[in-house]
Symmetry: C2
Subunit: 226 residues, 2 copies
């Protein structure tokens, strides 16, 4: 990760509208009320700036702040929370054990929901059936962790909510590809999703489910699945 | 993750001597001078306590502090740094951009060195040759990030050093299984490894390379590789 430290105070986000990882960063920036320049990338032809700013992974999203690149979505969310710690809300809890739990669940969501969710739409037949069952198990685990709380951290929208809400617009694509309804399996999790979507910060920072579904359909063509 | 919050101030570590993830936690505890009860687990027969304390992943290491379980090695290291922040050294840098970089590299090491290193010893022939080349590339990337600094964060031993030094005792097993020398490829990284090993906290918290090699040999039998 290079980074000259130039570039004044400006905040630039290299991103892709439907990216669940990008949505996390957009939600965090919106929650804090940070102005930034949004630059949509083209996966088929990544910009020179993206390749320079994220030479290791060449992946989105990349936040560029004062000329310095920050990558990996939950690293970026923590960075935003720490740099603008005077701006409410604080996304990370203040108590070390709660922070550790938040990081654990953030990591769990990144690894499990992403990877199993991907298998739900790239596979077919038996493999898809298996992936669907796994995804439902994962979502039930998350619903169990949510319990009767309004948000994962309690009464306030926070880090784990940011980590997971970015997958909510993907539910429609998962459901349509594998013929099931998350709401029938995890009604409380869907209630939580709606509660989050009612926040202006979340509503304006997340992609439309239909747009995500169309992206998935176009990606299926690219990877050769009908 | 359950956690009753009982158990006084005691610190218990459920661990496996040769685990690179466990070694991270032991190094962090040793750096801070925290006393703890070490409990060696048996992978073939995990303890009831482990299953209760890490029901999601059932993996090691697990730190139990005041009766609360904390899992995922780098989550634990950050927890240790935050709970005992009055004890020097501070492993995480204080500046948000440096913290983001530390988290990025910690994550990179966890994903890449572990996964590719594993392929170096579980595969043979062409696959092993490919894994070896990949591992060398990854180590060169890390050596490039180290540059001419004494430690990854600069003059002081810190978070990224903790994340990576736990793989250093594994180099011997990688080298022996795939017939190469890390020192010939990445001399500065090996110098850094020796520098870290000269710290008492690291020396006393890490497994012997021969012991790691023997563990790898026994695991090969378990997974059916001669």
């Amino acid at each position: 990760m290079a980074g000259g430290g130039h570039g004044g105070d400006e905040v630039i986000l290299l991103d892709l509208k439907v990216s669940m990882f990008g949505m996390r960063v957009r939600v965090a920036l919106a929650e804090k009320g940070i102005e930034y320049e949004y630059r949509e990338e083209n996966l088929a032809q990544k910009s020179q700036l993206l390749l320079e700013m994220n030479p290791i992974h060449k992946k989105l999203p990349v936040l560029i702040h004062k000329g310095n690149p920050i990558v990996e979505s939950l690293v970026i969310v923590q960075y935003i929370d720490e740099v603008w710690r005077d701006k409410k809300p604080l996304l990370m809890p203040s108590e070390p054990y709660q922070r550790a739990q938040a990081r654990f669940w953030g990591d769990f969501i990144t690894k499990k929901v992403y990877e199993v969710g991907r298998r739900v739409w790239v596979t077919k037949g038996e493999q898809q059936e298996k992936a669907k069952k796994e995804l439902i198990e994962i979502l039930k685990t998350l619903e169990g962790e949510l319990g009767d709380k309004a948000y994962f951290g309690g009464e306030e929208f926070g880090f784990v909510d940011v980590a997971l809400i970015s997958f909510y617009p993907w539910f429609h694509a998962y459901e349509t590809c594998a013929d099931f309804k998350v709401e029938a399996e995890c009604p409380k999790l869907v209630e939580w999703g709606k509660r989050c979507m009612a926040r202006e910060s979340v509503a304006k920072s997340t992609a439309d489910p239909q747009e995500v579904y169309e992206f998935v359909q176009s990606m299926k063509l690219v990877v050769g699945i009908d």
